[in-house]
């Protein structure tokens, strides 16, 4: 009973210390610099080297639970794409991805207010069926999305005049936190059609997707978690939410390391007492 109570007390102390450690850097930012990894650089290079006026596709395959990690990536990548004068098609394979896209565009448009809906960007909305919807987009975009979010017919949207299938987009950027997401875009768009795919995901999902960043370039780089989002912000010279939150995440990681050390010291003394 006493051991159980001790464990509960320890857990509460850990929660409290972590809460304070995460909150303080958010209130008083430290400003630690983040080094850019090769995966982030690769994704940045794909957008950077895509010619002006190319039509590109962003897929918002996540919901509000993961906005802390993925929304800063979406905002930074949209801003980068706008800065290269690319025309952006937004779609969503997750129902709440539509709202995520709207919010990301709202932020990006503050920096690029001259961008016009239908000419420079369009939100085609949500489509059910995941990988099958992607396969269908590979045959006809118009059949899958007969109109955009506001009901404008596909053929009446100026920037979509020359976009018949997924083969007509310069690259696909999937921001995903599960299934359907990046893996489905690789399987149904990159492999059969050859359209380059890049994207961003949560830190916990990234290890499962790294095998796709290979010599065949199934994935052109990958942004994994808040750190990658802050790396991307560094690359486009932006001090965004990821850069600010990165201090808090760094402190949290360090604190977890301290907890591991304390846990080991405690286990060592427990074993020693047991042996005696």
């Amino acid at each position: 009973m006493s051991a159980n109570k001790n464990t509960q007390t320890e857990r509460r102390i850990i929660y409290l210390v972590l809460l304070v450690a995460v909150a303080l850097p958010l209130i008083f930012p430290i400003g630690w610099k983040t080094e850019v990894s090769s995966y982030t650089k690769m994704a940045w290079e794909l957008i950077e080297n895509t010619p002006d006026s190319s039509v590109v596709l962003f897929s918002f395959d996540y919901d509000p639970s993961t906005i802390t990690e993925i929304q800063p990536m979406a905002e930074a990548m949209l801003e980068h794409s706008f800065s290269r004068n690319q025309k952006i098609i937004a779609v969503a394979l997750w129902p709440q991805g539509v709202q995520m896209a709207d919010q990301a565009f709202t932020v990006a448009l503050k920096k690029y207010p001259e961008k016009k809906y239908g000419v420079d960007y369009v939100n085609l909305g949500y489509k059910v069926a995941g990988i099958v919807a992607i396969q269908a987009m590979g045959k006809s975009m118009q059949e899958v999305f007969p109109s955009d979010q506001s009901g404008t017919k596909y053929e009446n949207i100026p920037m979509l005049k020359k976009v018949k299938t997924l083969k007509d987009v310069a690259y696909i950027c999937s921001l995903s936190s599960g299934t359907p997401g990046i893996k489905e875009w690789v399987m149904a768009a990159r492999d059969p059609l050859g359209t380059p795919v890049t994207g961003g995901t949560t830190a916990v999902s990234a290890p499962g997707l790294l095998p796709y960043v290979n010599s065949q370039k199934q994935l052109y780089g990958l942004l994994g978690g808040l750190k990658a989002a802050s790396e991307y912000e560094t690359l486009i010279n932006k001090i965004g939410s990821a850069t600010i939150k990165m201090d808090a995440q760094s402190i949290a990681h360090l604190l977890i390391l301290v907890f591991i050390i304390i846990g080991n010291i405690k286990a060592f003394y427990s074993r020693k007492r047991g042996a005696q």
């Binding site: 090769s38 059910v128 099958v132 977890i256």
Partner: protein, 232 residues
Amino acid sequence: MKYKIPLVFAFVCGILVVISEFIPHRPFNMLITTLQDWFMIISGFAILLGQISLFQANIKKIKEKNKDWPFYLAGLISFTVMLIFGLLWGTQEYRGIFGQGEKIQATVGMKPFDYLFANAFMPLSSTMFSLLAFFIASAAYRAFIIRSFESNLLMITAVIVMLGRTSFGGMLTSWLPEGLKFLHLPNLSDFIMEFPNSAAQRAILISAALGIIGSSLRIILGIERSYLGGEK
């Protein structure tokens, strides 16, 4: 008959999809396009079915006063409120039955559905996901203990990756000379992710793919019938 017709459908559709991958020409490419359209239509109905099922399951639990029934009630009320607001005043892009709800928009700044989405659903969802950090911290304290060779290996890897994924980790070893840059924490962390991690992930991916092929064949050939329900 109740089971035979779905089994025949599953066999014919499954075989058609497999053949179309190897012969992407008429008539298979046309048939597969039709099947894809069917799948998207059925998936749309599945959402509706899910909502009905959610209602039925929750109402049953509330009626029977199951454990934690007030939470099921809260879920149902939230669902109904969002549904009604969405139907009556629409969302950002769509009109509702009562139009655009200009008066409400003038008061709260956006439509009721969008207001609740932005100010209730989004913060609540993020909070649920953020709670993971507390559990991870507590689990790390109890689990990463030096016991054996394997546990040591796990702990050392975890420490390197964790430090390598922070801004502070990079600063810790930034003084290393060029010849020892491979020991730089972010580089070490990237190495672990790129080679040992990717190798293990590939093995898992290949095993999972083989498993999917096996279970798909069982479904196509009618050996696996649990998806039909009822019959064992």
